[in-house]
Symmetry: C2
Subunit: 245 residues, 2 copies
């Protein structure tokens, strides 16, 4: 028996082609795709729902709210960070490598680090990485109290640095220009601004423009990380040298 079409004045419920049943994993994966392609601001409930061929209200059966969705996506991103087995004799280098890896991963995913700045890391991957950091530091003789503080500070540092770096990329994306020409123009304008400053009010700034403009994001990140890790190493020496500092 052939179906009778609904009359045009009646709104029918959407009955699209068979589609995977929604699940939290599907939603997170869709969010991650959108983050990757369009940045964090594009990860709206409507956009995610559209990506899945449904409406935003459907997502709420699987995630509490947008905040939870972003937290889930954040932890998914952290799943890409590899953690090593601790080698006590090179614990400091291991810690550095782990933080460098985290920075690389965060920077690879648009401005997801912004989520890390606004959340207490409680997802499975965040915990995994925190535990690994603890393992490395404790194996290297870092006093437990210091190691606990260090996790906190390193997490803050890597997230904030990645977030700041991502803001330039956001502006570039919004500009429609390619990365190189955008950065050239953007930092050219900043330099121009600094050169326009009155030297009587800002003598040191004006004198150090070249130094202020010179370093790229990676160099800045590594400079700060180096400071933090040197300081950490000095805590081990202070506690009693058991490994190379």
């Amino acid at each position: 028996m052939t179906d009778i079409p609904a009359p045009p004045w009646r709104k029918t419920r959407r009955t699209n082609a068979p589609r995977a049943v929604l699940s939290r994993d599907l939603i997170v994966a869709a969010g991650l795709r959108i983050l990757d392609a369009e940045g964090l601001d594009a990860v709206s409930m409507r956009r995610v729902a559209q990506e899945l061929g449904t409406g935003p209200a459907s997502l709420y059966a699987h995630v509490e709210n947008k905040e939870e969705l972003l937290d889930l996506i954040y932890d998914e991103v952290m799943g890409e960070i590899q953690v090593p087995e601790p080698e006590p004799e090179r614990w400091l280098e291991q810690l550095r490598e782990l933080i460098m890896e985290a920075s690389r991963v965060f920077r690879a995913y648009a401005d997801i680090a912004k989520v890390g700045l606004a959340t207490i890391p409680t997802g499975p991957n965040a915990l995994r990485i925190a535990d690994a950091q603890l393992a490395i530091m404790l194996a290297g003789g870092v006093p437990p109290k210091v190691a606990a503080l260090m996790i906190d500070r390193l997490g803050l540092y890597v997230c904030s640095d990645a977030y700041e770096g991502s803001l330039y990329l956001n502006r570039q994306r919004a500009s429609g220009s390619d990365l190189e020409s955008f950065m050239g123009e953007f930092f050219g304008q900043i330099e121009e601004f600094y050169r326009s400053l009155p030297v009587d009010r800002f003598p040191n700034l004006v004198a150090q423009i070249d130094n202020l403009m010179e370093a790229g994001g990676t160099e800045r990140f590594e400079f700060g990380l180096d400071l933090l890790l040197r300081g950490l190493a000095s805590h081990v020496e202070a506690a009693g040298p058991t490994t190379k500092g």
Copy 2:
């Protein structure tokens, strides 16, 4: 001649009692009041306009957009930070004091530090403080290249720390509880969460719960600042000792 009232079916333009003419300063001051009392999210164009007895569209004759308004408010807040005349023999202590002062000011103004995380500091006060930091470091013999990098990193650190701290305050404000009971409950829940973790997956975390939970925000901030400043001092020693490190 007495005025004839407009008929009720005609919408009349609002002609309130005489009111100060709008200006950028007035708008910024209103924004600052709202920030102080209700937090950054409450600083909407509508809310600011309401505070001034006008409509949001009126603000756009004075500020380009909301981003500019927030930048202006941010620099206004920074106006509260005092900078010292450099004393070469105690440059490191001076720098510490300046950063502690900046942290105190940011923390005193809800979550304004969030703006600092998303902006290149170009306002008059931000420049004043950057110039002062440069002066202090250069007076202390810090190599110019290092000083330039340090401004960047310290700015990032103090903003991100203040921002993270402000998020707890935001949650407390939203909860309606008083600060003490909110913090007690909030951190109690976090500790509970940590204690519920499977020890086979997260052995180090579970073993260090007390250390992880113990420190307050100030201690964490000062721990990280100490690391950064120690590292900075070592750059001076490496460049050639000209002052106490």
